[in-house]
Amino acid sequence: MSFHKLSLKLVAATLLAGTALPAFAQDSVYVPLFTYRTGPFAGSGTPIADGMHDYLRMLNERDGGIGGVKLVLEECETGYDTKKGVECYESVKGKNPVVVNPWSTGITLPLIPRASVDKIPILSMAYGLSASARGDIFPWVFNPPATYWDGLSMIVKYIGEKEGGLDKLKGKKIGFLHLDASFGKEPLPLLQELAKQYGFEVALYPVAAQDMQNQSSQWLSARRDRPDYMIMWGWGSMNGAAIKEAVRSGYPMDKFYSVWWPGEDDARSGGAGAKGFKMLNWHAVGANFPAIQDIQKHVVDKGLSKAPKDKVGELLYNRGVYNSLLIAEGIATAQKLTGKKAVTGEDVRRGMENIKLDPARLKELGLEGFTDQLVLSCADHNGHRAAFMQEWDGTKWVKISNPIEPMTEQVRGQLEAAAKDYSEKNAGWPKRTEACDKAS
């Protein structure tokens, strides 16, 4: 084949490929998914990416999309890298995305000021800037169903109850093992505040991203400090390595708590010694829900998913499903509010403010009992919902508590101060001009 012919064929192939690119027409809405299937955080990022993709893909396959419009899904690999995440945002914003999910607190922070300018809602589900729960100050950012501060207050509350009351925490020492990054530092102000209020001591154990798999120093220090409890704020391979090191160092696992991010693989890596490890969660684990069965039938069985069959229904997979449930509800509610099929980012922002996921709606969606109800509003972009404690029994997660409500008073005070501080530090932070819907 001559070079000339080969060139022509290449040009033709490129043109054909161009026509196969996602078309953002009137009969579709564009939903970019920021994911990380590569890099040190892929262990957490991959199952979440699978769950997010598969739920939305299932809606396309089963229902033809949402309200008669197809969802155009496109993944952008961030590698959990803030720079790459912002590049992803810049590359998708011209395609009229209806919502962006950064899936990283570090990526969320630089996107917050961009969101109101570009009119693209940011969904940072249970991560990101805690203060962005304030809809009156951050109209374009949503972080349901609970903030990191809610989560921390729930763990402290649970530990307090175990001790016989929060006042019994006086004189105790709580270790805080955290990723030394924006995400891991986010709950620190509240932790210091709670320590002051209840008289417990805090020992900090920062883990640098490059040392996530080299934590022997942190656990050696924990042996020196003898914290009565250890709370973990970890992500990616940090979680599994921490559980392993805790087992190795002989730390009592029934005193080891985590925010809602470890998955089954992390707990499994600790072997039999990981039994008793506890973490917060707010949704079910398992595939025994009609909507997830539909994912199996319409997506996984047809080979349209990247998830191995046995991973469907695992904790972080279902976390991704929950994230997409919020996206889908935001779109569906926006369609109802505006009467339009192909809604825009501005419409979905309104839709998100009117999300009402009550038990009846969850049943209608095939997710009865999957999670607690969630109602968002113009002022409250979070919901501050309760979570429950679950424990690793050696092979699976077991729910061991009733819903734990966050310490609303303490959290609200911190939240308002932080939101005020944010708007003051960011000179010219715009006052909310977006109207509130009556219902919200």
């Binding site: 490059q210 798999q213 120093s217 020196r224 160092s249």
Partner: protein, 318 residues
Amino acid sequence: MDILYKVFIEPFVFMGEAPDLLIQTLWEGLVSGVLYALIALGFVLIFKASGVFNFAQGIMVVFSALTLVGLYEKGVPAFLALILAVLVMLVLAIVVERVVLRPLVNQPDIILFMATFGLTYFLIGFGELIFGGNPKEMITDALFLPQGTTELDMLGGMVRFQHLDIAAAVIASIMIALLAVFFSKTRVGRALRAVADSHKAALSVGISLNQIWVIVWFAAGIVALVAGIMWGARSGVSFSLQVIALKALPVLILGGFTSIPGAIIGGLIIGIGEKLGEFYWGPLVGGGVETWLAYVIALLFLLYRPQGLFGEKIIERI
């Protein structure tokens, strides 16, 4: 005065008060140090033979360990998977020599160094394509690596020795001894040392540079595999392991880029130094000193002994 007391007196008082914790810290440092030394050895081998700082050594640790675990997950028996992983490292060595090194022969060292950058990113992408990005568990049981802990009551306290750590220290020591014997007592080893001294002189007496490069890259691959197995057994096999390999840089600065004993001593100084630093002085600055302490130690050595503890003093006419 208070700060001087906290820096110069308090840590030593605490060492005396809790000697069991001192022993534990030294042990943890020793194990880390041996593993750092193992990774540093991979760098030294290639640097000795070709003058190239192989930036890809870290990803070779991950790639070799993932190959082993990946093959096992596909149903290959553990020891066959181990042999196949060794063969994969041999193939990699041949490919690197043919595709990367041979076309760049006689190019400045910095060009070869940049080529190893390219190799790193190729191996990351290739590894993720083949094995996926998810962390994997090392097949500790299948390889008959010991598990469990021995707790010894000593010095008024208790010291925990992980059997896996003991095995890591023993295996790494055997590995280092074998390499030392190989390079000092065998014909290939002598040829390698000749190449390290002078490429041109080695060529003039009939030593094949290409063969030597394949051998050292293969040896570095085996070292990477052993390091990957031991680190992987401690904390799982994931792509974040490659970052740990960068700890070998201060080890090399300390021990010298061309010295096998230097890599060992350097590894131990860095391993023990950073654990002691983090444990006794870390709390003064809120912890997290381990991340940079190794580089500070290396920098201090660099000021007084630029060639490292055992490195060759290079005197060039200018």
